[in-house]
């Protein structure tokens, strides 16, 4: 994944590192933040390799990447919203609702089975748009609005499900086999995650929709004066996040097999943790989907390594919590360094 990132930077900004640093502090910070997560991950790998003999094997790496896949996709969706300086706490409820309702409908109407992804997209767009409406039009703070829809969407799915399960036999056959498939030595989910993250990353970087999200997030007022319709941008981000959450809900449903109305409840904190570890600023405007996806890999690595070491659940909670704080702290340090370095260079450039 890092190679992809490197080529991307190489094509967009041909000059050397120093000049890039000097030219745009913000962009450099963004890149270095991503480096921060990678360094953190490498550290984890080194530590776990040293203490857990079976950690550094291809088989284990496959396993880590597979468990990270779902969270990575969900984190990519969340990033869209976080970049605008908002939050989507309803992500787990959207995932659960989409998985249960879509698979339940499809099991009753087999003609729909090839189209479940489209159905999920529809569900996600509607739920995301409602979130966006509440935040951008009614102007309810995003934490409050999505805290409310977290309950409403979850309430709806448990109402709809009425305590029954969609069992693995009722799922469309193709998506069930997809969950078990492996392409080029990696689970299909890992490739899907990679694909979705790259597409979202590309869209953010290259499409007007994405660039506006960054612009709006770094300075909403400036974006407004610049003539960027803030409502459209925020709603767009929520719609994108909702669609991604709904699709990843399907994938999670297929992975789990038996789906009940509680699927993915509470996952929002994990998703937020991945985003934050990945160096996406909770204040909006900076960070990348690649970082967020990497944050998911970091979390999966911690969980994996601690089970390999035979560590108890209690310590896992402690470690994970500490890792989040540490990642944010490293991030803030890098950020400050870069900013001051950028300022220095700029002043140097002026005096020279």
């Amino acid at each position: 994944m890092s190679t992809v990132q490197d080529t991307a930077t190489a094509t967009t900004a041909p000059p050397g590192l120093a000049e890039r640093l000097g030219m745009t502090g913000g962009a450099a910070a963004l890149r270095l933040r991503f480096v921060g997560v990678v360094v953190f991950q490498l550290l984890l790998v080194v530590v776990f390799t040293a203490v857990a003999p079976r950690f550094l094997t291809w088989d284990n790496a496959q396993s880590i990447l597979f468990t990270a896949a779902i969270l990575a996709i969900a984190a990519a969706g969340q990033t869209l919203v976080v970049l605008t300086g908002n939050l989507d706490l309803s992500v787990g409820s959207i995932m659960g609702l989409s998985a249960y309702v879509v698979f339940d409908v499809a099991s009753g109407a087999p003609v729909l089975q090839p189209w479940v992804v489209l159905l999920a997209l529809l569900v996600g767009v509607v739920l995301g748009a409602f979130n966006g409406f509440l935040v951008a039009v009614v102007q309810i703070p995003s934490i409050v609005a999505t805290l409310g829809t977290l309950s409403i969407y979850r309430g709806f799915v448990s109402f709809y499900a009425d305590a029954t399960e969609v069992t693995s036999g009722e799922l469309p056959r193709w998506i069930r086999t997809l969950a078990t498939e492996s392409w080029f030595g990696l689970s299909s989910y890992v490739w899907l995650a990679l694909g979705i993250v790259l597409v979202v990353g590309f869209a953010l970087r290259s499409l007007p929709w994405g660039r506006q999200i960054y612009a709006y997030g770094s300075n909403p007022r400036a974006a407004y004066f610049y003539g960027l319709g803030s409502r459209r941008i925020v709603i767009g981000a929520y719609v994108g996040a909702g669609a991604i959450a709904a699709v990843v809900g399907l994938l999670l449903g297929a992975q789990v097999g038996n789906i009940n109305s509680l699927l993915a409840s509470g996952i929002e904190l994990q998703v937020l943790a991945a985003v934050v570890i990945g160096g996406v600023s909770i204040w909006g405007g900076s960070g990348s989907v690649y970082g967020a996806a990497f944050g998911a890999v970091v979390l999966a690595t911690i969980n994996n390594g601690l089970v390999l070491l035979g560590v108890q659940e209690f310590y896992r909670l402690l470690f994970q919590g500490a890792a989040i704080v540490l990642a944010v702290a490293v991030d803030a340090m890098v950020q400050r360094r870069v900013q001051s370095a950028g300022n220095r260079r700029r002043t140097l450039g002026v005096t020279a």
Binding site: R54, A161, E165, T167, S182, G257, N303, G310
Partner: protein, 358 residues
């Protein structure tokens, strides 16, 4: 502006403080006058004949889980047969505070009995004691509360029988034995903790299970399917010679089996333990797994409700040695500490999985 504001706040503060002060001054004798529930249970004097106005509430750990729903059906059936009012109450959040609120608010409605699966057996105890003080009979099923907080505990399986049946299921999957790992629900669920402890003891001491060995650290998935899958995968990585993952959580066991299939390890590693037949039917039919176990939750709910009814009518008083006649569901003896053991484990295999419709 600021002073104006402050004056207003001061006014509010004075009012609130005065109110609190008044309360304190008015009656500061702290006499624990236990809040008496509206009516309390119907008197025990009446006999089985006139039960039309008898009311029994069933409170699962939380609503929305298929397992509890099946138990509810059993309770409802008992309610119909006995001609009593049966109500299913609870929150869809798996939190102790929610269950306590549910139970506390059940008391003023004066049901004659509560049938409860305790999410935190100690924390709900005061609420249950309060119910008993108000004359309400309390029967726990599935997960017990503190002994002095309930009249009876209808245990689906004695912890020993549950443990040995799960190990039997493990041996059905992996006849030559091998390494076993445990995924439990939460470190604070006494039944899950007991299951694991006894399974470890049996592997250590019972020659029948001597071909098995176990990973000492127990992992916890909190009845969460996603978490169970991640743990299953990581356990497989941590222990290359792992043969069986056992979980007494009806969510974790099927989820772990699905994770094994997803990872392409089907046939090499098996998950087993407690599971609803509907959630493992496909695994067993497709040959991914040979055996899962459970009991009939509907019958468990039925027996618990019948026992509650008999407590209310006075047919039994929860004394050791008394018999509970649950008709077709069988007759059960009250053991020490008011425990009733249902003890009918079901082993689901390819031969019988189609016989079960829950």
């Amino acid at each position: 502006m600021n002073g104006h504001l402050r004056r207003r706040r001061r006014a509010v503060v004075t009012v609130v403080a005065a109110a609190a002060g008044l309360l304190l001054a008015a009656c500061s004798t702290e006499a624990p006058t236990a809040p008496a529930a509206g009516g309390g249970g119907e008197t025990q004097g009446e006999d089985a004949s006139g039960d039309e106005d008898m009311k029994i509430f069933m409170a699962p750990k939380f609503t929305g889980l298929a397992y509890f729903e099946v138990a509810r059906e059993g309770g409802e059936r008992a309610g119909e047969e006995l001609g009593i009012e049966f109500e299913y109450i609870g929150s869809d959040k798996a939190e102790a505070t929610e269950q306590i609120a549910t139970l506390t608010n059940a008391i003023p409605q004066a049901p004659d009995a509560l049938v409860v699966s305790a999410i935190d057996g100690d924390a709900v105890a005061p609420a249950l004691k309060q119910a008993r003080d108000a004359g309400i009979k309390v029967v726990t099923y599935d997960a017990d509360a503190a002994v002095d907080a309930r009249d009876l505990f209808v245990n689906q399986l004695s912890y020993e029988l549950a443990a040995s049946t799960m190990l039997d299921a493990a041996l059905l999957n992996s006849p030559e034995g091998g390494l076993v790992a445990f995924i439990s629900a939460s470190p604070t669920a006494p039944n899950h903790t007991a299951h694991v402890r006894i399974m470890k003891e049996l592997i250590d001491t019972d020659p029948k299970y001597s071909s098995l060995s176990y990973v000492d650290t127990v992992q916890f998935a909190g009845d969460d399917a996603t978490k169970s899958q991640e743990l299953a995968l990581n356990l497989i990585q941590a222990n290359p010679d792992l043969k069986v993952i056992i979980s007494s959580s009806a969510v974790s066991a099927p989820a772990a089996q699905q994770a094994i299939i997803n990872a392409g390890k089907s046939g090499e590693v098996f998950a087993t333990g407690v599971a609803l037949p509907s959630s493992v039917r496909d695994f067993i039919k497709d040959g991914h797994s040979t055996a899962f176990m459970m009991w009939d939750p509907a019958e468990l709910g039925y027996i618990a409700t019948v026992a509650a009814h008999q407590l209310v009518t006075g047919e039994i008083t929860a004394e050791e040695g008394q018999m509970i006649d649950a008709g077709e569901a069988g007759t059960y003896e009250v053991l020490a500490d008011g425990e009733v053991q249902y003890n009918k484990p079901l082993m689901f295999t390819a031969d019988n999985i189609d016989d079960f419709d829950f």
